[in-house]
Amino acid sequence: MEKLVHISNLQKIYPNGTHALKGVSLDIYKGEFLSIIGLSGSGKSTLLRCINRLHEPTSGTIEFSGKDVTHISGSELRQYRKSIGMIFQHFNLIKRMSVMDNVLSGHLGSIGTFASLVGKFPGSVKEKALNNLDIVGIREKADLRADALSGGQQQRVAIARTLMQNPELLLADEPVASLDPATSHSVMKYLEIMNKQHGCTVVCNLHFLSLVRQYSTRVIALRAGEIVYEGKPQDITEEWFKSIYGEDAVEVEIE
């Protein structure tokens, strides 16, 4: 399998001294659906944000398609980020703007500054935005304000926004953690569509093992900033589960 991302010995120490990642080495392969599990505070979000460089790694290297991106900056960094989509637990839409404008904001990396500030997106881009809203099944909401939508719908807008980037890689930071079980599946289904139909590699932080088993092709577990498990989702045994989540943990099912 072809490597998309190659991370070696990645360390992240926050300015306040928190040692969030303690030498993580990881390969992400083209086309896979990788889940990251681990307790709260184990460093899952930090790892994702180091990959698209929202956070600066303290040491170690990150290679993307064979190119070292650990210390790129300026337009090179923006170009790099453009090829990586990201969705968040709290959706992070711009609440006061329309659904359509939120989707269009996914195109900001590819449009001139002035044109974007005056809101002049080309017709073809608008068409693409509508098309993306179609893909996630909420085209009819295009003109509503983003905060008028339900949580699940907002996350679908966020997916439509990252689709604007035609991302090679999608980073999803607990995309369903603030949604109910039924809605969770509808959102996960769209991540699956991105993965299978758009050929987008997905890295997804998840809390529910049932979702991990159902959607991902591979799983890693973090504990206190280190990778403690790597394998197929079906192979997570009771024993592994306890070593990842602690002795007293009981698995909760989500259907």
Binding site: N52, L54, R78, Q79, Y80, R81, K82, S83, I84, G85, M86, F88, H90, F91, N92, L93, I94, K95, R96, M97, S105, G106, H107, L108, G109, S110, T113, S116, L117, A158, R161, T162, M164, Q165, L171
Partner: protein, 335 residues
Amino acid sequence: MNDKVKIYLLDVFFGWYLAITFHRVFYYHVLLSTDSPDFTWNLMLPYVGVAIIFSVMCLLTGASLGKKIISSTQKGTWQNEFAINIAWILILMTFVTSWVVTKVNIIQMFDHERLNAAGRLFSSLLQPNWNILQKAIMAMIETIYLAFLSTAIALPVSFLLGFLSARNLMKGNPISFALYNILRIITNFTRSIEPLVWAVIFTVWVSSGPFPGMLALMIHTIASLAKQYSEQIEDIDAGPMEAIEATGARPIQVIWFAVVPQIVIPFLSFTIYRWDINVRMATIIGLVGGGGIGSMLIQYQMLSQWNEVGLIVLIIALVVWLMDYLSAKIREALR
């Protein structure tokens, strides 16, 4: 500093304060009903002497207010009671001193002649002279426009300063963080000077009239709005910023798409409220030569033409009430 030293210095200060207020205020003004002798630095010596004796007594007996403030004294002991009594005496002496310094004179206030004068004043205030109505309205309009111009000119400047003095946007790199700190100091200093004082400065600089009044309000408005704006920016949800940044957008696009939509409404509401404040301020500033209705008011007041003053007061009250009402309505609608 060591706690013992702090306690001792506090007791010295309390002793000195008690000595000086008892002697200069209580003894001369209250007991003898005369003025206290002119102040010279030599007079300080005996007070300091008393203060040192007092503080040493406090130190030796443990009956010390300084100790009660800095560390603690045990409840139920006489030392604790003593410290509490000292505190009450300090408050009492401060009140007596304020009374003396303010030259409060209640007897004079209800003197027959004075009451008559006040009665004449109030009755002429209630009979406004409508002949100057047109002139007063023109002056009021001048004031409103002056307030509007000062707010309008301040607006873009404060807008820019608001971003540059928002901690969350500026803390990223050392240069911008230094700029942030410098701007904070300048705007805090500017804001701590009242518009009235700015007006005095500008009337000296560019002679009196509406223009210096406008400048005074503008300066103060820039500093106040910049502060309110930056606080609003510091308060925004960082999530959307992160999301827009992750799309590969430039910093200016991040601000325009993720920051600005979160702040326009509060900004508008602050700005309208500031205009409202500025109309009131412009009136006051007129009193020191800043033009408009305030200047007109002070002219008639100096000529003791109370019927004219009455009309002007009436117009000011009306406009201030109206502005207050309108700005509240607009801000409500914006929410």
